[in-house]
Symmetry: C2
Subunit: 375 residues, 2 copies
């Protein structure tokens, strides 16, 4: 049915490490996918993204269908060549962004009609159009079209929304058809309600997917409630398929989600934070804009091997960020993406070595210590 | 007096090619210096700037003295290490920017007092403070502090301004003192008036400098008048010292100025144009924003070896520029800087081969043909 294969190499408690193999390359799991919204990981060249250790990127269907447009992208040969990234790409379904970014939305059983936030043009996103657009983009891992359940919402709203998403999952599966070398992932919904999560997992398993995402988390419920939901909702998903927690998260969120059996992640946080002057370090985030860095000759992160940390001082990063120079975004994004990939490397090594609990305890302790003050 | 040496390898008519040797590296002339205003060539990593073929950068004293500040820069070990560029750096004197960017300026025989355009703080730029600031920055090639003569101006104004600049040149020379490994360049003024240019050159030669700049051109007088002025003003400068035409210019300006005996150039044009979507090519500038590029799979410049041209289509550049993505500035700046360096390589080869006239004729003919329309 597909030549996408998922091989688990080791488990440690619920944490797993393995490889998701695709014709465009292997994805080491647990994996973090940098976000390349509009056919670029902001402020990075693709070769540099690869150097950070990324095996796969995420592209946003909503943005790409509006600009440059899906039909145009197909005529141009697809997203990979267009953006100079020949490794795997996962695309979301557009469902999340259409609810957060577009105007004049109308949701029906058929799908969502909306006006572009760029030029006001009218579009329809439905299971069928989303599958077609993701095909035109050339996506390796396609996501089902689902409704992003609002948070907070009542139990009834969560149930109604989840059941709509399950009907859409079935239509997505049918519209996707047979596409060797390309995978389709289902998306579990059901909010924070264990029985709805179980019902959603059962519906998805009955349809059958190449991977299973946990949707509807990291939407404002907080880490404790997210972990509480993951504690039960992951157990209902098949063990022999990759599990992807969409839109997560902070480094500590990722480590905790891996402990609960998640294999894949994506988040704008490392790149977006980089552009606003926040750098991630083993001892927590650092705001480079802070005046205490103005004459600090140390690197942002003394343990890091990225160009930002090997070639520049905090004083330089402070200066170029305050001067609003593009290089500030370039360097801090590079560092943050590299930091995330180093966390993933450490996670994979800890699981393989059977020391994930120790790793997690040390990781959280170190993060809580906070940045070292200059001498 | 200095271990900066200038060796001419070949001349062809008035055009010259050679090497300006400094302790931080050789500068092949004719040379184009990318502008790194605020301790960064905008949208570029220094390693990439070097890859384009640049031997030397220009830094702006006015910007750097205000942020991060000259004393701070000295405490941090100077501009080279700070910005991760260990090759030569030329700094301007701050005289040009103080007139164009600062507020509440007051010009006296002593110098210029002004308010910072960033925070309104009060500063004095004079021959003595400019020399001190450029020393604190660690500049390899220091420029005399001069008055930028306004354009247009009367002959009397040009004369008065030039004579002030010559008195300041003498004070600059005295304040600079003896600094092995560092060079001081004088700046010829006198507007478009042959006798004033000659008087200025004589005054500078009497003082004695390691190099001589032609100032006060490319300020709105147009290419014809600029070339007309260069036709006579360069002849008064010593032949055994490098000649630097400040702030120039378009590719055709540079080729024409080389024909008139100029050895060094700097200009924001390749980097600034890159950020606004203009790409330089052998057949003239291309505005990548134009709709005709939306599905053009050809590179911006088929003859170019830079990553922008080897890895991306015009369609991609069009898309990311319109989407206001940082990568658009990164790629177009890289290309434009590489284009400028390729022109300099071609210029040097043509002079060395004694074919500069032919080169110049072909260059101008090709530029005039304009960009190739898509099929």
């Amino acid at each position: 049915m597909t030549d996408i294969r998922f091989i688990l190499n080791a488990t440690d408690g619920k944490a797993r490490t393995g490889v998701l193999s695709t014709p465009r390359g292997d994805i080491r799991t647990p994996a973090f996918m940098p976000v390349g919204t509009a056919a670029t990981v902001k402020a990075m060249l693709p070769g540099s993204v690869r150097e950070t250790g990324a095996d796969i990127l995420l592209g946003n269907t909503y943005h790409l269908m509006l600009r440059p447009g899906a039909a145009r992208m197909e005529r141009l040969g697809g997203l990979h060549g267009f953006m100079n990234w020949e490794r795997p790409i996962l695309t979301d379904s557009g469902g999340f962004q259409v609810m957060s970014l577009s105007k004049l939305r109308k949701l029906t059983e058929e799908g969502v009609t909306f006006a572009s936030h760029i030029d006001g043009s009218r579009h329809l996103l439905s299971p069928e159009t989303s599958m077609e657009i993701q095909r035109q983009l050339g996506s390796d891992i396609v996501m089902c079209f689902d409704e992003c359940t609002p948070y907070p919402c009542t139990r009834d709203e969560a149930e109604t929304s989840m059941r709509l998403s399950m009907r859409w999952a079935e239509r997505s599966r049918a519209a996707f058809g047979e596409r060797p070398g390309h995978a389709l992932f289902g998306i579990q919904q059901g909010g924070v309600h264990p029985d709805l999560r179980e019902e959603s997992a059962d519906a998805l398993k009955k349809i059958g997917f190449d991977g299973y995402a946990v949707g509807g988390l990291a939407v404002g419920e907080g880490q404790e409630m997210m972990f509480g939901t993951l504690d039960h909702c992951v157990d209902h998903l098949p063990t022999d398929r990759p599990r992807y927690l969409m839109g997560v998260g902070k480094p500590g969120d990722i480590v905790g989600a891996v402990a609960r059996g998640i294999d894949m992640f994506d988040c704008v946080m490392p790149s977006r934070s980089g552009r606003t002057g926040q750098g991630f370090t083993p001892r927590g985030p650092v705001n480079i804009r802070n005046a205490r860095h103005a004459e600090d000759t140390r690197p942002l992160d003394e343990t890091c091997d990225c160009p930002c940390c090997t070639d520049y001082s905090r004083a330089y990063l402070h200066h170029v960020h305050r001067a609003q120079e593009i290089i500030a975004s370039m360097l801090l994004t590079w560092h943050n993406l590299r930091y995330y990939q180093r966390v993933m490397e450490d996670i994979r090594a800890a699981i393989a070595g059977g020391t994930f609990d120790d790793f997690q305890a040390r990781f959280n302790e170190e993060q809580a210590r906070g940045d070292i003050e200059p001498l």
